[in-house]
Symmetry: C2
Subunit: 601 residues, 2 copies
C-alpha cells in the first residue's frame, strides 16, 4: 500500500472537527524558503512526491497534486498507487487548483489552510477565485497532527560573521533601513525573509540546506531590534549588533508581535512595513490593528546591490572556484577510457575539488551532473537520477557551485570527451553565441532584466529553438544562490531595475529531449560602463566566473569575428588570473585550453 493512503485517512478524520471540506498542503514553509527544512516538508510526507514544488489539495473523497513540466514523470511514478490525482500544470484541460476546488466543492464549502504557508497575495487571489467557497485559517497545521515522527525544527542559531568578512557594518545597514522607515513614517519594519535577516544583521545560520540561514523573524523599530531565533548566543550577537537588540525565542513571535503593536498603538496608530509578497497571511494577522505599508521590503534592493567589500569577496571566491573547476576539467579530460565514471562520481569529483579550497563552506545547491539524455533534463539531480555512465563522445552537463566564506558561486559548463556529434557542436555553439551576445551588451542603467533576455536567445530562436528557463537570476554574496532581484527572465518581477553592483547569472541553454542538453553559465557583476560623456548611465557585465569553455564542442564556422574576439579576451583573463595559482602541469593544460582562436574573415 502506498504510504500516503494511511496518512490521508488520518488527515481526513480531522476534517469534521475542524469544520472543513478540504485541506490545502502547499510545499512552502513559513519563510517561503526555496529549500524547505525537513520538519516542514509536509506535502512530501503526505503525498510521497519528493519534488521541490507541488501543491496538494485533499478533499474528503479525492486528492490532487499540481506539478510543473519538470516533474511530470517523477510525480507519476511517486504517486502511483496513492490515489492522488496528478495535475500536469499547463497541459490542455488540466484545471487550476482553484478551478478544481470550485468543481468538486459546493458553494458553502470551507477550505482549510495553514495561514503560515500562504503569502497574503496568494491568499487573496485564492479567496477571490473560489468564492463563494470560504478559506478557513486553522491555527494548528493538520498534517503535523497526524505526522508522528516529524523531524524536529532545526535551531542552529544565527552566528555573527567575522568583521573582515562583513559587507558592511550591521549598524550602517540598520541606519539605512531606519532612514527608509522614517521617510515612510514607519514605526516598525517586520520581515520573515531569512536571507534579509541574515544580510541585515551580517550573521549566518545552518538551518536550511545550501543556504546559510537561520529560522528567525525580525522586527526593527526606530531604536530597538526584536529578533526571534533559537540556538543563538545573546552575548556574541549583542556585541556584533550593539544596543537595542532584544532576543526572543523563535516561537515567541506569535505573542510578542501583537504585544508590540498594542504598546505602539497606545500613542497613535503605528505604521508597520511588511512586504506582502514575502510575508505570510499569518504574520499579517499578528499585526492586526496597525496601519500597514505593504510595499516591497527596502532590504530587497539594498541586498541586491553588493557593497565593494562583497564584490571583492565574490571575486575572491570565484578565483578559488575557478581553480577547483580547472582541476576537475583536467581530471575529466585525463580519465582512462576504460574506467569512465558515472554521474554520481562526476558530481562527487567536482564537489571534492571545491571542498579543497580554503574558505569553502558547502555546496550552494545540489550538483547537477547529467550525462547524455540526462543532460536534457533541466533540473536533473544526481540523487534522483539514473546515475548514467559516461562514455567517449558523451555530453556532460555540469551545473555546480559553492558557498565560501566570502561569497557564493554558480557555474555551468557542458563537456565532452572525444568527438561530439555535429548536432551537439552546433547546439553548443548557438548557446555560446547567446552567452557572448548578452555578455558583451551594454545597456541603460535601470532597465528591467527581461529586456535583455532575447539577446541570449536570438541565435537559437532563428533556428527554431528556445529554452524553457530564465536567462539569469540574481546571486547572493555568501547567501542564497538564487536571489531576486535581479532577474533576466520572462518570469522575473516587472518594474525591477538593473543597477550597478547587482550580480546575475547568464545561462542560456538548449535541450533536446531524449538526446542531449547544453547549458553555459557565467556569473557577472553589473558595472558602470566607461564613464565617457554619453555613456555614464550605461551598464555592462563583468564576468565573475573564471573557467574555460570547450573548444572541442565549438563549430568555429558559426562564430562571428566579434564573438571570437570576446571569447579570446575572456580566455585570456581566465588564464591570467588562474595560472599563478596552479601547478606547472595544470597551468600548461589551462594555457592550451585558453589559447586564442583565429579571428575569421
Amino acid at each position: 500500500m502506498h504510504p500516503s493512503t494511511t496518512h490521508l485517512v488520518n488527515l481526513r478524520n480531522l476534517f469534521r472537527a475542524e469544520g472543513i471540506d478540504a485541506y490545502l498542503v502547499p510545499s512552502t514553509d513559513p519563510h517561503l524558503n526555496e529549500y524547505v527544512p525537513a520538519t516542514w516538508q509536509r506535502r512530501r510526507w503526505l503525498s510521497g512526491f519528493t519534488g521541490s514544488v507541488g501543491d496538494l489539495v485533499v478533499l474528503t473523497d479525492r486528492a490532487a497534486l499540481w506539478v510543473d513540466g519538470r516533474y511530470f514523470l517523477q510525480a507519476e511514478s511517486e504517486l502511483a498507487g496513492s490515489g492522488i490525482d496528478l495535475m500536469r500544470q499547463g497541459e490542455p484541460g488540466v484545471p487550476t487548483l482553484a478551478a478544481y476546488l470550485n468543481q468538486h466543492l459546493g458553494q458553502g464549502a470551507a477550505v482549510g489552510i495553514d495561514p503560515r504557508l500562504l503569502s497574503r497575495e496568494r491568499y487573496r487571489t485564492l479567496a477571490t477565485e473560489i468564492e463563494p467557497r470560504r478559506i478557513l485559517s486553522l491555527d494548528n497545521n493538520l498534517v503535523d497532527a497526524v505526522w508522528k515522527d516529524r523531524p524536529p525544527r532545526p535551531a542552529g542559531g544565527l552566528t555573527p560573521r567575522k568583521p573582515d568578512l562583513c559587507g558592511a557594518r550591521p549598524a550602517a545597514r540598520l541606519e539605512t533601513l531606519r532612514t527608509s522607515m522614517a521617510e515612510r513614517d514607519c514605526a516598525l519594519f517586520v520581515t520573515s525573509n531569512l536571507a534579509e535577516i541574515a544580510w541585515l544583521l551580517e550573521a549566518r545560520g545552518t538551518d536550511v540546506d545550501y543556504n546559510p540561514l537561520a529560522l528567525s523573524y525580525l522586527a526593527v523599530g526606530r531604536s530597538v531590534l526584536h529578533l526571534f531565533v533559537d540556538g543563538t548566543s545573546p552575548q556574541a550577537l549583542a556585541t556584533h549588533l550593539g544596543n537595542g537588540l532584544v532576543l526572543h525565542r523563535y516561537d515567541e513571535v506569535s505573542t510578542v508581535l501583537p504585544a508590540l503593536i498594542q504598546e505602539l498603538t497606545a500613542e497613535t496608530p503605528p505604521r508597520i512595513w511588511l512586504d506582502q509578497t514575502s510575508a505570510s497571511v499569518w504574520l499579517f494577522g499578528l499585526l492586526d490593528g496597525a496601519g500597514l505599508i505593504l510595499d516591497e521590503s527596502p532590504l530587497r534592493r539594498s541586498k541586491a546591490c553588493k557593497t565593494p567589500r562583497e564584490l571583492e569577496g565574490m571575486r575572491a571566491c570565484h578565483l578559488r572556484d575557478g581553480l577547483a573547476m580547472v582541476r576537475f576539467l583536467h581530471w575529466f579530460h585525463h580519465l582512462p577510457d576504460k574506467a569512465l565514471p558515472r554521474e554520481r562520481e562526476l558530481a562527487a569529483a567536482i564537489d571534492a575539488e571545491r571542498a579543497k579550497e580554503p574558505g569553502f563552506r558547502g555546496l550552494s545547491f545540489n550538483t547537477i551532473a547529467g550525462v547524455d539524455t540526462n543532460s536534457a533534463v533541466i533540473h536533473y539531480g544526481t540523487d534522483r537520477g539514473t546515475n548514467a555512465p559516461l562514455a567517449n563522445g558523451s555530453v556532460l552537463l555540469l551545473d555546480s557551485g559553492g558557498q565560501y566564506d566570502t561569497g557564493t558561486t554558480d557555474i555551468t559548463r557542458t563537456l565532452c570527451r572525444g568527438q561530439a556529434s555535429p548536432a551537439v557542436r552546433r547546439a553548443y555553439t548557438l548557446v555560446l553565441k547567446g552567452l557572448i551576445a548578452i555578455s558583451k551588451q551594454r545597456f541603460p542603467q535601470g532597465i528591467e532584466g527581461i529586456r535583455l533576455d532575447a539577446l541570449a536567445r536570438q541565435h537559437l530562436w532563428n533556428q527554431g529553438f528556445d529554452y524553457s528557463h530564465g536567462t539569469g537570476h540574481g546571486v547572493g554574496a555568501a547567501l542564497c544562490v538564487h536571489e531576486n532581484p535581479p532577474g533576466i527572465s520572462p518570469r522575473s518581477d516587472r518594474g525591477m531595475p538593473l543597477l550597478p553592483g547587482m550580480i546575475t547569472s547568464l545561462e542560456p541553454g538548449y535541450y533536446q529531449e531524449g538526446a542531449f542538453g547544453i547549458r553555459l553559465e557565467n556569473l557577472a557583476e553589473l558595472v558602470l560602463s566607461d564613464p565617457t560623456a554619453p555613456a555614464t548611465s550605461f551598464l555592462r557585465f563583468e564576468e565573475l566566473t573564471l573557467c574555460p569553455f570547450e573548444f572541442s564542442l565549438l563549430e568555429l564556422a558559426l562564430l562571428e569575428p566579434a564573438e571570437v574576439t570576446w571569447l579570446n579576451a575572456y580566455h585570456h583573463r581566465v588564464r591570467t588570473e588562474l595560472a599563478p595559482h596552479l601547478s606547472h602541469e595544470l597551468a600548461a593544460w589551462l594555457a592550451e585550453h585558453c589559447a586564442a582562436l583565429d579571428i575569421p574573415g
Copy 2:
C-alpha cells in the same frame, strides 16, 4: 491677460455650490480617444496648453498642469502668465498629481471629477492615493458650464463599409463575440471604445481626426445589439448588420443601459462584460446592480489579429503608399538647390502625393517633417513648429501615413540632400542596424513584445545611446494608426502575446538635442516562419512598408555581411513590387536607389 485667468475664476466660482475643493481636468474624453474632438478639449481651452496629453488640477488658490518631457518647452511658453504651475513629470522633486493634492488639501477635502473622463482603474488608484481626501463625481462637467462657445459634438454617424472592403462579415464577428460571452456566462457586453465598435460592426465614421470613428456606445446582448450613435441611417445599418439592431441616440446610453440592466435583472443577476481599462467609471455607474466581468475586452485581441482580407488590404495600400513615397523622394532629390522648401512645404508635398492615390481617405496622423534641430524633436508637428528651411546637407525626418479604403500606413524615413556629416551617417547606420536586427529576428509565437525591444536598441546601447520611445506599436486595418496590442515597448501591456496576423511598426531612432534626429520605421506583419519541424510555432516579420533607405546616409563600414544581405533583399522586393506601377523615369530612379550593395568581407 492670459485667457485662462478668467476661465479659472469662472470655474472656481462653481466650487462652493458643488461642495468641492479642487477639480480635475484631464485631457481625455469619454471614449479615451487618442485624438480628442474639439468639443471635449476642455483642458486645452481652460489652460491654454495645446499639447495632446497633460492633466490639469484646479484648487481654490492654485492650479497645476502635468506634462511629460516632450512638452516641457511648449507648456512653459503656453502657460506663461496663466498662473498655472507647470509640473515636469519625472523631473526630480516634481510631485505626482496625487501627492500635490495631498500636499495642498486638508484631510476632509473633496476633489471633483467628471466620471466620464476617468477609467475605473485610474479612478480607483487616485481614490486610494489621496485618502482620506475624497473624490466627488459630478454629473455635469464644470468646464462645460463656463465654456460659452464650446464647439458642438460631431455627429457624422457610422457608415457601413462596402462588402468587398470588410475584413469579415459583421455577423461572423458578432457570433465570435457571443461565443466568448457564452463561455463566460455573460448576458451583455458593453464597450465605449470607438475602434472596437467600428471594427466589430465593419462601419466607419468621421467624428475624430485621423481616425475613421464615430462617437458611439455599444451593448451586445445574446441576440440584440444596442447601438448609441447620432447621424446614422437606420436602414443602411440594419441591412448591413441584420436582425437584432436597436439604434438609439448617443445620449440615450445614460437611460437605456440602466433600464436594460433592470430588465435583465428581473430574471437573474445578469453578468455584464466591461473592460475596466477602457471604460469610464461613469459607464460602470450605469451598470449598477449587475454582476461584472472586468477582463480585457475580447475584441481587443481579435481586432489585432488581422483577417486574410485585412492583410490583403494592408498590403495593397502599402503598395500605393510606397508609390507616393517614391514620387516624393524623387521630387525631393531633384529640387533645385536655389529654392529649397521649408518644413510645411515638405509635409504638404508628401500629403499631396498620398492624396493622388486611389482609395486615399486622409492622413493617418499629422505629418511630421522636421529639418535639422527639429528632426531631434520626437513628436514634432509642423503646425506648431518653426517651419525651418531645408538646406543642402540638412537632415529631414519625415514620419507620415495615410488612411486608405483598404488599410492604414505609417512610415518614417530620414533623408538628406547632398553630403551629411560623419556623425549623422554613423547615427543613421546604427539606427538602420537596429531596424535590420529586429526585422530579421525569428521568435516564439506568444511572447510579449517587450522581449524584442532590445534587439532594435543593441547597437545604439553599445555606443551609449538610446531613444525614449517604444520600438513598435500596433496598427489598425483602416482604423487607428496607433492600436494596442501589439506593442514592442517598455510601456506596452504586460502579458500580451505576439500572434500571427498582428501588425506592428518597427521604428528605432536616435535624437541628439539641438543637432539632428534619425528615425527609420517600417510596418510589418507577424507571420508564421517556415513550417519546418521545430519552427512551426515561431514567427517572423514580413515588411508591409515598401520604400528604399538612403544610401547616402549609410556608413557601409559599420554593416555586417548579414545586414547587407537583408538590405539588398528588402530593396530588391521594394523595386520589384513598385516598379511596374511607376513611369520609366521613376522606375529607373528607383532601380538606382535599390541597387544591391557589395557584401563586405
